[in-house]
Amino acid sequence: MVSRLQAFLLRRLLWALPVLALVSVAIFGLIRLVPGDPAIVMLGADAPPEQLAAVRAELGLDEPLPVQYVDYVGDAVRGDLGHSYVDDRAVSAAIASRLPTTLFLTLAGFLVSLSIAIPAGLLSATNRGEWLDGVGLGFGLLGVSIPNFWLGVVLLLLFGVRLDWLPVAGYVSPLADPVEGVRYLLLPGITLGTAMAAVVTRMLRSELLEELRREYLDAVRMKGVGELGVLTHATKNAFIPVVTVIGMQFGYLLGGSIVVETVFSIPGMGRLLIDAIGSRDYIMLQGVVLVYTTFFVAVNIVVDGAYFYLNPKLGGER
């Protein structure tokens, strides 16, 4: 017997399939609809015709589009995203080598944003109208208005160049060297996480303010529970809708990581994407975009699942 949560997740997964199919068609189509022969664009103006023909054959460009698509999807399902002509790598291997980096970066942004947003949201809501609230609101406004790349460059100039406390460029895996890894991820994490922190702070604040007006908190007070206990109840409840926002923000983080990876020279998926665009590496490009999309869809399913799980009204687990 499947539980309601499992049924829900399965249903979401089934829904994700057509979404992914649609996305794959879109990616595939868009890349091929871009004007210009990919082979020529890839190899440059003075490429010999023989080489162009070889590349076309390798890319399957001489086949009709539907055949190309079916081949592509067939391979993709088996985990083969193709072979990059530009730097002669299996796309899946290239992505596999970059994905952990992007995940670590996204995670860093995620942690940074939550460690800012949760206390800020709580303080802001519980000190409504006072100066702390003003600080929280101001941060919320600034955070969403400052563009990633600008913040990144400012942090980099301040902490990397002027103060020289932290490295400016590059990446060390936190698994290989936790201390260095964190040092390298700190600035990118702050850059990436600030906007999300702002959004989550504002959301948490408003949800909490809403929640603090709810009657059950008076019921909790009437038990003789202290204000901290009351706040705990309110925060747990306020977090349920915030989880959804956090999930959506995770998608934003993924997008933001592209910019941040470029600014901080972090060899992640975003850089792979930018480079693939730059070098007209279509095979790589469609692989990377597909992985991003899949990831995004997966995050959405997880978030929905979490929402479902946390919200007993939807029949979450006990």
Partner: protein
């Protein structure tokens, strides 16, 4: 007797219940499950029951806001259950429970009341004057209230606006869905009095939906008691409320707290448990799991309640037959119609 204005036969409204991974339909909530009644012009039928019994769904289905799963609704000789026309929309109006949410906050009272006229393209020449007249009819002062916005009015005044709006098209039938339950106690009487007056002056026909027997007592001519999607008792007001025949009616009436009576909890008929799930109603008599009569029945008789659903039948000894209605007093209970208590 002339043909009834509204005739409902075997009306059902089931909502699908979906479950499983693919959300397939796995059952149905039998919100309204085979209801029949006639409503003569000029009379008031009250459908009384507790929350979830299906009375609101019944009202919505009758006036075509919801599509029936089965059954037939005839209005003034025309079948309307397969789709209502503009004439029906004009002749049947509804007064809603919550005057706070059913009035457009951004429209003046005058515009709110005139809106149905505009929609139906009526009284283009003297609309404003007519609306003022209507406001006066429902006890509002046009001078004060015509240009007022809903938030400037008290709850009772808003409900009066709602009634004026419903009257604008000079309907024949008004469906009153809990018309006073959102109002302050001291205001309720005024609205009920207004409804009585309007009926007397305009010969309106009312279908009153209410959970409050006291309200029903003040307004209705006949009463239908609804339980789990079915009528369990239907008859003249005095008959049903003074001498309830169905055990549920009995329990319902005895639950109403009397203001002046000395409290005597032992006299009260207690209903054990909660109403069952309308998606999975009990077999046989739907009321049997909570019925206090069963204690007095022998085992064979009690088994009948579990096995066999009672039909709504004419009560043999029952009450004064109404001269103007051909459906007398009917009760759906295996034992009450004939047990000669």
């Amino acid at each position: 007797m002339s043909d009834p204005l509204l005739s409902v036969r075997g009306l059902k409204r089931h909502y699908p219940v979906r479950s499983g991974i693919l959300k397939r339909k796995t059952g149905a909530v039998r919100a309204v499950d085979g209801v029949s009644f006639d409503l003569a012009a000029g009379e008031t039928l009250a459908v009384v029951g507790e929350s979830g019994c299906g009375k609101s769904t019944l009202a919505e289905t009758v006036i075509g806001l919801d599509e029936p799963t089965a059954g037939e609704v005839t209005f003034d000789g025309e079948t309307v259950s397969d789709g209502v026309d503009k004439a029906f929309r004009r002749r049947v109006q509804m007064v809603f429970q919550d005057p706070f949410s059913t009035l457009n906050e951004r429209m003046t009272v005058g515009r709110i009341v005139a809106e149905p006229l505009a929609i139906h393209g009526q009284r283009e020449d003297d609309r404003a004057a007519y609306v003022r007249e209507l406001l006066e009819t429902v006890g509002l002062d046009p001078a004060d209230h015509y240009d007022a916005f809903p938030h400037e009015l008290s709850g009772g005044q808003r409900q009066r606006v709602g009634i004026a709006r419903a009257l604008a098209l000079e309907p024949d039938l008004l469906v009153l869905d809990e018309p006073v339950s959102a109002l302050d106690v001291s205001v309720r009487a005024g609205i009920l009095e207004l409804l009585r007056e309007l009926q007397a002056e305009r010969g309106l026909t009312y279908l009153l939906i209410s959970h409050d027997v006291s309200v029903v007592r003040q307004v209705a001519d006949r009463v239908a008691v609804m339980y789990l999607g079915e009528f369990v008792e239907l008859g003249a007001l005095g008959d049903v409320l003074d001498e309830p025949a169905h055990p549920y009616t009995e329990a319902l009436l005895s639950s109403v707290p009397r203001v002046r009576a000395e409290p005597d909890p032992d006299e009260r008929i207690r209903l054990p448990g909660s109403p069952p799930d309308p998606a999975d109603p009990p077999a046989g008599c739907r009321f049997h799991p909570r019925c206090h009569l069963r204690d007095r029945l022998d085992d064979d008789a009690a088994a009948r309640c579990v096995a066999e659903a009672p039909e709504l039948t004419e009560r043999e000894d029952g009450g004064e037959p109404r001269p103007d209605a051909d459906d007398g007093r009917t009760v759906a209970c295996h034992f009450r119609p004939g047990d000669g208590e």
